[in-house]
Symmetry: C2
Subunit: 330 residues, 2 copies
DNA sequence: CGATGTCTCGGAAACGTTTCCGGGCGATGG
DNA sequence: CCATCGCCCGGAAACGTTTCCGAGACATCG
């Protein structure tokens, strides 16, 4: 049998299609008619066509979340925070994993003009001029999780990962570490450069020198942390290590174990993001909480406000970091 | 400025809207016209409206993937396998995290009749009569990852987790374990019951007795594994343990550590799913690979085939398990 | 040179909704 | 009893595409 449309319902209920639409959408109409229409709709198994509704109302009920990599537990925390908010507001969530590819991110931004979603939460790991250009002319509201130039007219919520990294270094210094290494992500990413700056801040405030031989740049994965740390250990001795990421820190702990160094006795380790990985690692990993869940929640709320027309001027929010101390640095 | 529609382009190019549609969709038309239309479209920044196209072509370009929990790395592997396949076929991926709630899963199935996606990959953890009823009358193709009664006319690809669990038990028995525990998921889930059956199979084939005091049922999370294992250790002594899940196994290893038992010297541990967690755990966890990535890939391919009209009759595929031996059982 | 065919294009219908607008009808007030 | 008002309802337009159909223009063939 063919699909039930509003016409089917109208015939079954013996009313016009306008009445069906009104009855089902809660417009003023005779309670009696409403009941008849409801019954008819249920009987023929009517469900409104998403496409037709969207075309008419210019409202899709979908919101997209674009991130670098679904496998990164930091994004997982965000998704977990965003999902229930959107759902209770009646939106479906669309996930894009862009693989940190600028082209793909731009493509997502441009395709917004096709109106297949009502809004977007974007987590760029680098922000290029092409991003800014694309952001300037999107058809639907966008909220960025990350840093953005002040001049850009887009809502954003960011973590303070510079301060967060400084906290990590200060914590290690306070625990007596003198040779504190940083295994960082790529230098040309926003988080990478912020974390390097925070590392330098931390050494300064602890009165320690900045030594290039203690710093490595790699990617944000476990394997990257493992390799970079091996390389690091082949050079100078260290007694403390900050991973720019929980994943990097876990890779680093593997490398230390393989090199026969005991964490935290020989080397104390701190990660960043405080993901699920940190608590379940061995030894449990001290980590800087950059408020991923909170950022996700704020971003979703900002977007919902804007979609509801409640939002004011451009909003910029920063979330404060906090340190979560576990075995790896005791 | 208002949004550019096909009319805008038609005016700018000095042709009719039908010609614009033909030119852009590669229908036969004068190469000269095509060029003019392309130029005009680029100039006014035209992008077709997803809703209007969907309404007309009854084709959304979206495919949904519904799972229990995005945080479970087993699903992550599936998503990672599915995403590139769909993308290169021109589909966007929509993720649903249902929280193993039957109601939500049914809702997803029913909302398929709103045609907001072209197809669905569903990973149910339990299969109820309501599932079967809803599956029977979906408007779009569905592929299930999991077990389904033979009578249901739906494509499915499943893991053989019964055999997988048997392999785990046999491996432990071969390594000299006599008191092999099972920390299982909920008994009323498909994976839970299959794994219990496989556990019994394994004990039988190793000539060991089945002892109820060695079995616990909990949820599929780390915390569940931790608690259930604590409870287990308070009872009988064990020298081997199978976690129905890598997450459970990792929780179990934590409990063992807290109880002062060394893995693998005192107790050998095996997990199931062979997720990213297994390789990065300490000690690295022996785990049964149930072919999550392969299942995802097969399911996506099956769905794409069906959407392209290439598919034959109902297809049922099973993926073979294999054991990945690491430190935790050496 | 007329008939036939090919190629390209424009008009119009259709997809399934929502919403504006006008009309019918009963109730109310003078 | 007539005019007015408010409540419901039906008709029709509109959202932005795709696609069918028919009409010209031009070349080709008998």
């Amino acid at each position: 049998m063919a699909r039930a449309t509003i016409k089917t319902v109208a015939q079954a209920a013996g009313v016009s299609i306008s009445s069906v639409s009104r009855a089902l959408n809660g417009q003023t109409s005779n309670p009696d008619t409403v009941a008849r229409v409801r019954a008819a709709a249920a009987q023929v198994g009517y469900l409104p066509s998403a496409a037709a509704q969207t075309l008419k109302t210019r409202h899709t009920g979908q919101i997209a979340f674009a991130m670098e990599d679904i496998g990164n537990p930091a994004y997982l925390a965000m998704v977990r925070a965003i999902q229930p908010l959107l759902r209770s507001a009646g939106y479906r969530l669309l996930l894009h994993s862009t693989g940190a590819d600028v082209g793909e991110e731009i493509q997502v931004l441009e395709s917004l003009n096709q109106h297949y979603v009502d809004g977007l939460v974007l987590c760029p790991i680098r922000v290029t001029d092409r991003h800014l250009a694309a952001l300037a002319q999107t058809a639907v509201p966008v909220v960025v999780i990350g840093s953005l130039p002040e001049t850009v007219d887009v809502d954003a919520v960011r973590a303070d990962s510079r301060t967060g990294t400084r906290l990590a270094v200060e914590h290690l210094a306070a625990a007596g570490c003198r040779d504190i290494a940083l295994v960082n992500g790529p230098a040309d990413t926003t988080p990478g450069s912020a974390r390097y700056a925070g590392y330098v801040d931390g050494l300064r405030s602890a009165g320690l020198p900045v030594r290039d031989e203690l710093v490595r740049f790699t990617n944000f994965h476990i394997a990257g942390g493992l390799e970079a740390t091996k390389d690091l250990l082949a050079g100078t001795p260290i007694d403390g290590l900050v991973g720019a990421n929980d994943r990097i820190a876990i890779g680093a702990m593997q490398a230390l174990r393989e090199a026969g160094r005991v964490v935290p006795r020989d080397v104390k380790v701190v990660g960043i993001d405080d993901t699920e990985l940190a608590a379940t690692a061995y030894p449990p990993l001290t980590s800087v909480d950059l408020g991923a869940a909170q950022r996700g929640q704020l971003a979703a709320q900002l977007l919902l406000d804007r979609l509801a027309g409640r939002a004011a001027a451009r909003t910029r929010v920063a979330v404060e970091p906090s340190l979560n101390i576990r075995e790896s640095s005791r």
